[in-house]
Amino acid sequence: MPFKRFFSWLNGLFGRRETFSLGIYGNVNTGKSTLANRISVDWTGEPMSEVSEIPHETREVKKKERVILHVNGKKITINLLDMPGITTKVDYREFLQYGMKADKAQQRAKEATKGVIEAIKWLEHVDAAMVVMDACDDPYTQVNITILGNLEARKIPVIIVANKIDKKSAKPERIKEAFPQHSVVNISALKGENMTQLYEEIARHAR
Protein backbone atom coordinates (compact mmCIF):
# COMPACT_ATOMS: atom_id res chain seq x y z
CA MET A 1 0.00 0.00 0.00
CA PRO A 2 2.73 2.55 0.80
CA PHE A 3 4.24 1.88 -2.68
CA LYS A 4 0.84 2.45 -4.34
CA ARG A 5 0.50 5.75 -2.53
CA PHE A 6 4.05 6.73 -3.45
CA PHE A 7 3.49 6.04 -7.16
CA SER A 8 0.15 7.86 -7.08
CA TRP A 9 1.95 10.86 -5.54
CA LEU A 10 4.67 10.65 -8.21
CA ASN A 11 2.05 10.52 -10.96
CA GLY A 12 0.33 13.60 -9.60
CA LEU A 13 3.66 15.38 -9.23
CA PHE A 14 4.62 14.89 -12.86
CA GLY A 15 1.17 15.63 -14.22
CA ARG A 16 0.36 12.11 -15.39
CA ARG A 17 -2.54 11.43 -13.06
CA GLU A 18 -4.53 8.59 -14.59
CA THR A 19 -7.96 9.88 -13.63
CA PHE A 20 -9.20 12.98 -11.94
CA SER A 21 -12.40 13.59 -10.02
CA LEU A 22 -14.61 16.34 -11.37
CA GLY A 23 -17.33 17.56 -9.00
CA ILE A 24 -20.45 19.31 -10.26
CA TYR A 25 -21.43 21.91 -7.69
CA GLY A 26 -24.01 24.65 -7.44
CA ASN A 27 -27.21 25.86 -5.91
CA VAL A 28 -30.42 23.80 -6.04
CA ASN A 29 -32.12 23.48 -9.47
CA THR A 30 -29.35 25.01 -11.55
CA GLY A 31 -29.25 21.97 -13.85
CA LYS A 32 -26.35 20.01 -12.33
CA SER A 33 -27.90 16.59 -12.96
CA THR A 34 -28.96 17.59 -16.47
CA LEU A 35 -25.33 18.53 -17.12
CA ALA A 36 -24.04 15.30 -15.53
CA ASN A 37 -26.40 13.32 -17.75
CA ARG A 38 -25.37 15.28 -20.85
CA ILE A 39 -21.67 14.54 -20.22
CA SER A 40 -22.37 10.93 -19.31
CA VAL A 41 -24.56 10.30 -22.38
CA ASP A 42 -22.08 12.06 -24.69
CA TRP A 43 -19.17 9.85 -23.60
CA THR A 44 -20.66 6.62 -22.21
CA GLY A 45 -24.05 6.48 -23.92
CA GLU A 46 -26.01 6.31 -20.67
CA PRO A 47 -27.33 8.87 -18.14
CA MET A 48 -26.21 8.86 -14.51
CA SER A 49 -28.78 10.85 -12.48
CA GLU A 50 -32.52 11.30 -12.09
CA VAL A 51 -33.78 14.73 -13.15
CA SER A 52 -36.87 16.47 -11.81
CA GLU A 53 -38.59 19.86 -11.55
CA ILE A 54 -38.96 19.29 -7.81
CA PRO A 55 -36.02 20.75 -5.87
CA HIS A 56 -33.52 18.36 -4.22
CA GLU A 57 -33.99 15.48 -6.64
CA THR A 58 -30.30 14.63 -6.10
CA ARG A 59 -29.97 13.92 -2.38
CA GLU A 60 -26.78 11.91 -2.42
CA VAL A 61 -23.55 12.18 -4.42
CA LYS A 62 -23.93 10.32 -7.73
CA LYS A 63 -20.73 8.92 -9.19
CA LYS A 64 -19.86 7.83 -12.69
CA GLU A 65 -16.37 6.39 -12.73
CA ARG A 66 -13.89 6.35 -15.58
CA VAL A 67 -15.71 8.53 -18.08
CA ILE A 68 -13.26 8.84 -20.99
CA LEU A 69 -13.28 12.11 -22.95
CA HIS A 70 -11.37 12.59 -26.21
CA VAL A 71 -10.75 16.30 -26.73
CA ASN A 72 -8.42 17.71 -29.39
CA GLY A 73 -6.41 14.50 -29.51
CA LYS A 74 -6.12 14.34 -25.73
CA LYS A 75 -7.59 11.44 -23.74
CA ILE A 76 -8.93 12.42 -20.34
CA THR A 77 -10.38 9.98 -17.82
CA ILE A 78 -12.64 11.52 -15.20
CA ASN A 79 -14.66 10.32 -12.26
CA LEU A 80 -17.75 12.47 -12.57
CA LEU A 81 -19.49 13.45 -9.32
CA ASP A 82 -22.98 14.93 -9.43
CA MET A 83 -23.41 16.71 -6.10
CA PRO A 84 -26.65 17.53 -4.28
CA GLY A 85 -27.45 21.24 -4.58
CA ILE A 86 -26.00 23.38 -1.80
CA THR A 87 -28.38 25.63 0.08
CA THR A 88 -28.88 27.25 3.48
CA LYS A 89 -32.58 26.41 3.74
CA VAL A 90 -34.84 23.40 3.27
CA ASP A 91 -38.56 23.55 3.96
CA TYR A 92 -40.62 20.41 3.38
CA ARG A 93 -43.69 22.57 2.65
CA GLU A 94 -42.06 23.60 -0.62
CA PHE A 95 -42.46 20.01 -1.86
CA LEU A 96 -46.18 19.96 -1.00
CA GLN A 97 -46.74 22.41 -3.87
CA TYR A 98 -45.72 19.61 -6.23
CA GLY A 99 -48.50 17.35 -4.93
CA MET A 100 -46.29 15.39 -2.54
CA LYS A 101 -47.84 14.02 0.66
CA ALA A 102 -46.62 15.53 3.96
CA ASP A 103 -44.76 12.42 5.19
CA LYS A 104 -42.98 11.98 1.85
CA ALA A 105 -42.14 15.69 1.77
CA GLN A 106 -40.68 15.56 5.29
CA GLN A 107 -38.61 12.50 4.38
CA ARG A 108 -37.35 14.26 1.24
CA ALA A 109 -36.40 17.34 3.30
CA LYS A 110 -34.48 15.18 5.78
CA GLU A 111 -32.62 13.42 2.97
CA ALA A 112 -31.94 16.78 1.31
CA THR A 113 -30.22 18.14 4.44
CA LYS A 114 -27.97 15.05 4.56
CA GLY A 115 -27.20 15.52 0.86
CA VAL A 116 -26.08 19.11 1.38
CA ILE A 117 -23.77 18.03 4.22
CA GLU A 118 -22.29 15.29 2.00
CA ALA A 119 -21.72 17.73 -0.89
CA ILE A 120 -19.99 20.18 1.47
CA LYS A 121 -17.70 17.42 2.80
CA TRP A 122 -16.72 16.52 -0.78
CA LEU A 123 -15.42 20.06 -1.39
CA GLU A 124 -12.11 18.85 0.09
CA HIS A 125 -11.82 15.77 -2.08
CA VAL A 126 -12.42 16.76 -5.71
CA ASP A 127 -9.52 17.44 -8.09
CA ALA A 128 -11.49 19.99 -10.12
CA ALA A 129 -14.98 21.47 -9.96
CA MET A 130 -17.63 22.84 -12.25
CA VAL A 131 -19.82 25.35 -10.45
CA VAL A 132 -23.15 25.47 -12.25
CA MET A 133 -25.20 28.66 -12.13
CA ASP A 134 -28.62 29.36 -13.63
CA ALA A 135 -27.99 32.14 -16.18
CA CYS A 136 -31.49 33.52 -15.48
CA ASP A 137 -30.77 34.16 -11.78
CA ASP A 138 -28.63 36.66 -9.89
CA PRO A 139 -25.26 34.86 -9.61
CA TYR A 140 -24.03 36.92 -6.68
CA THR A 141 -25.41 34.65 -3.93
CA GLN A 142 -23.75 33.61 -0.71
CA VAL A 143 -23.96 29.95 -1.73
CA ASN A 144 -21.98 30.62 -4.91
CA ILE A 145 -19.49 32.82 -3.06
CA THR A 146 -18.96 30.21 -0.33
CA ILE A 147 -18.53 27.33 -2.80
CA LEU A 148 -16.04 29.32 -4.89
CA GLY A 149 -14.22 30.66 -1.83
CA ASN A 150 -13.66 27.18 -0.44
CA LEU A 151 -12.49 25.79 -3.79
CA GLU A 152 -10.13 28.76 -4.28
CA ALA A 153 -8.71 28.33 -0.77
CA ARG A 154 -7.78 24.74 -1.64
CA LYS A 155 -6.46 25.80 -5.06
CA ILE A 156 -8.90 23.45 -6.77
CA PRO A 157 -9.35 24.39 -10.45
CA VAL A 158 -12.81 25.80 -11.14
CA ILE A 159 -14.91 26.16 -14.27
CA ILE A 160 -18.06 28.22 -13.87
CA VAL A 161 -20.89 26.91 -16.04
CA ALA A 162 -23.54 29.46 -16.98
CA ASN A 163 -26.38 27.05 -17.70
CA LYS A 164 -29.86 27.45 -19.22
CA ILE A 165 -28.78 29.91 -21.92
CA ASP A 166 -31.62 28.56 -24.07
CA LYS A 167 -34.08 30.48 -21.86
CA LYS A 168 -35.20 33.95 -22.96
CA SER A 169 -34.40 35.58 -19.62
CA ALA A 170 -30.83 34.21 -19.54
CA LYS A 171 -28.13 36.82 -18.90
CA PRO A 172 -24.87 34.84 -18.71
CA GLU A 173 -22.81 38.06 -18.94
CA ARG A 174 -23.83 38.83 -15.32
CA ILE A 175 -21.99 35.67 -14.20
CA LYS A 176 -18.77 36.73 -15.94
CA GLU A 177 -19.09 40.19 -14.37
CA ALA A 178 -19.63 38.73 -10.89
CA PHE A 179 -16.69 36.28 -11.05
CA PRO A 180 -14.15 37.70 -13.51
CA GLN A 181 -11.32 35.64 -11.99
CA HIS A 182 -12.77 32.37 -13.31
CA SER A 183 -13.35 30.75 -16.70
CA VAL A 184 -17.04 30.92 -17.55
CA VAL A 185 -18.59 28.69 -20.21
CA ASN A 186 -22.13 29.47 -21.37
CA ILE A 187 -24.13 26.33 -22.13
CA SER A 188 -27.54 24.76 -22.30
CA ALA A 189 -27.15 21.29 -20.78
CA LEU A 190 -30.73 20.55 -21.78
CA LYS A 191 -30.22 21.35 -25.47
CA GLY A 192 -26.54 20.41 -25.60
CA GLU A 193 -25.44 23.90 -26.72
CA ASN A 194 -21.73 24.79 -26.42
CA MET A 195 -20.75 21.42 -24.95
CA THR A 196 -17.64 21.25 -27.16
CA GLN A 197 -16.40 24.46 -25.58
CA LEU A 198 -17.04 23.02 -22.11
CA TYR A 199 -15.13 19.82 -22.94
CA GLU A 200 -12.19 21.91 -24.17
CA GLU A 201 -12.24 23.82 -20.91
CA ILE A 202 -12.31 20.55 -18.91
CA ALA A 203 -9.33 19.30 -20.95
CA ARG A 204 -7.47 22.53 -20.21
CA HIS A 205 -7.97 22.01 -16.48
CA ALA A 206 -7.11 18.29 -16.51
CA ARG A 207 -3.61 17.74 -15.22
Partner: protein, 118 residues
Protein backbone atom coordinates in the same frame (compact mmCIF):
# COMPACT_ATOMS: atom_id res chain seq x y z
CA UNK B 1 -44.15 40.61 15.04
CA UNK B 2 -41.06 42.80 15.56
CA UNK B 3 -37.63 42.08 14.23
CA UNK B 4 -34.79 41.80 16.72
CA UNK B 5 -31.30 42.63 15.50
CA UNK B 6 -28.17 41.71 17.42
CA UNK B 7 -24.76 43.23 16.65
CA UNK B 8 -21.68 41.20 17.53
CA UNK B 9 -18.48 43.22 17.70
CA UNK B 10 -15.12 41.95 16.44
CA UNK B 11 -13.95 41.97 20.06
CA UNK B 12 -16.73 39.72 21.27
CA UNK B 13 -16.30 37.38 18.28
CA UNK B 14 -12.55 37.10 18.79
CA UNK B 15 -13.15 35.74 22.29
CA UNK B 16 -15.18 32.84 20.91
CA UNK B 17 -13.76 29.60 19.55
CA UNK B 18 -15.04 28.93 15.98
CA UNK B 19 -17.35 26.15 17.25
CA UNK B 20 -18.87 28.44 19.86
CA UNK B 21 -19.21 31.31 17.38
CA UNK B 22 -21.34 29.19 15.06
CA UNK B 23 -23.39 27.83 17.95
CA UNK B 24 -24.15 31.40 19.09
CA UNK B 25 -25.26 32.39 15.57
CA UNK B 26 -27.52 29.36 15.11
CA UNK B 27 -29.09 29.70 18.53
CA UNK B 28 -29.86 33.38 17.92
CA UNK B 29 -31.29 32.76 14.45
CA UNK B 30 -33.45 29.93 15.80
CA UNK B 31 -34.89 32.54 18.18
CA UNK B 32 -35.81 34.73 15.19
CA UNK B 33 -32.99 37.23 15.64
CA UNK B 34 -30.99 38.80 12.85
CA UNK B 35 -27.29 38.76 13.64
CA UNK B 36 -24.83 41.32 12.31
CA UNK B 37 -21.20 40.26 12.66
CA UNK B 38 -18.81 43.19 12.64
CA UNK B 39 -16.07 40.92 11.39
CA UNK B 40 -17.56 38.25 9.16
CA UNK B 41 -16.96 34.53 8.93
CA UNK B 42 -14.05 32.85 7.20
CA UNK B 43 -14.75 30.63 4.20
CA UNK B 44 -14.24 27.58 6.41
CA UNK B 45 -16.64 28.93 9.03
CA UNK B 46 -19.28 29.69 6.40
CA UNK B 47 -18.98 26.17 5.09
CA UNK B 48 -19.26 24.72 8.59
CA UNK B 49 -22.24 27.00 9.29
CA UNK B 50 -24.05 25.62 6.22
CA UNK B 51 -23.46 22.05 7.50
CA UNK B 52 -24.64 22.86 10.99
CA UNK B 53 -27.75 24.58 9.70
CA UNK B 54 -28.56 21.40 7.76
CA UNK B 55 -28.09 19.34 10.94
CA UNK B 56 -30.49 21.64 12.75
CA UNK B 57 -33.13 21.46 9.99
CA UNK B 58 -32.76 17.66 9.93
CA UNK B 59 -33.68 17.49 13.61
CA UNK B 60 -37.17 18.75 12.76
CA UNK B 61 -38.98 21.21 15.01
CA UNK B 62 -39.84 23.78 12.39
CA UNK B 63 -36.44 25.39 11.77
CA UNK B 64 -36.10 25.81 8.01
CA UNK B 65 -32.72 27.48 7.66
CA UNK B 66 -30.97 30.79 7.31
CA UNK B 67 -30.38 33.62 4.89
CA UNK B 68 -26.83 34.90 4.93
CA UNK B 69 -25.09 37.71 3.14
CA UNK B 70 -21.55 38.99 3.44
CA UNK B 71 -19.90 42.23 2.42
CA UNK B 72 -16.25 42.27 1.44
CA UNK B 73 -14.01 39.29 0.98
CA UNK B 74 -11.56 37.55 3.22
CA UNK B 75 -7.90 38.56 3.11
CA UNK B 76 -5.33 35.77 3.51
CA UNK B 77 -1.67 35.29 4.22
CA UNK B 78 0.94 37.95 4.82
CA UNK B 79 -1.44 40.75 3.87
CA UNK B 80 -3.89 39.59 6.54
CA UNK B 81 -1.11 39.55 9.16
CA UNK B 82 -0.08 43.06 8.23
CA UNK B 83 -3.64 44.40 8.33
CA UNK B 84 -4.21 42.83 11.76
CA UNK B 85 -0.94 44.28 13.08
CA UNK B 86 -2.14 47.72 11.99
CA UNK B 87 -5.47 47.17 13.75
CA UNK B 88 -7.53 46.62 10.60
CA UNK B 89 -10.10 43.97 9.77
CA UNK B 90 -9.37 41.03 7.48
CA UNK B 91 -12.92 39.81 6.97
CA UNK B 92 -16.02 41.66 5.80
CA UNK B 93 -19.31 42.22 7.56
CA UNK B 94 -21.82 39.36 7.58
CA UNK B 95 -25.56 39.38 8.25
CA UNK B 96 -27.40 36.16 9.15
CA UNK B 97 -31.14 35.82 9.66
CA UNK B 98 -33.84 33.19 9.86
CA UNK B 99 -35.07 32.11 6.43
CA UNK B 100 -38.69 32.50 7.56
CA UNK B 101 -38.18 36.15 8.41
CA UNK B 102 -36.03 37.41 5.54
CA UNK B 103 -38.03 38.61 2.57
CA UNK B 104 -35.29 39.85 0.30
CA UNK B 105 -31.52 40.16 0.02
CA UNK B 106 -29.94 42.65 -2.34
CA UNK B 107 -26.24 42.69 -2.84
CA UNK B 108 -23.46 44.02 -4.93
CA UNK B 109 -19.79 43.99 -4.01
CA UNK B 110 -20.10 47.23 -2.04
CA UNK B 111 -23.64 47.27 -0.69
CA UNK B 112 -26.02 44.82 0.93
CA UNK B 113 -29.72 45.08 1.70
CA UNK B 114 -31.55 42.73 4.01
CA UNK B 115 -35.36 43.15 4.12
CA UNK B 116 -37.05 41.32 6.99
CA UNK B 117 -40.57 40.94 8.33
CA UNK B 118 -43.58 38.68 7.92
Amino acid sequence: MGVEIEFLSSKSLDKLAPERKLAVIIEAVKHNKIIVLEEGLTREEERELFSRVMHEIGKGGGFTGIEIVGLGGEVDGVRAGLIKMLGGKTKGLTVVGPEKLVREIKRNPEKIGFAAGK
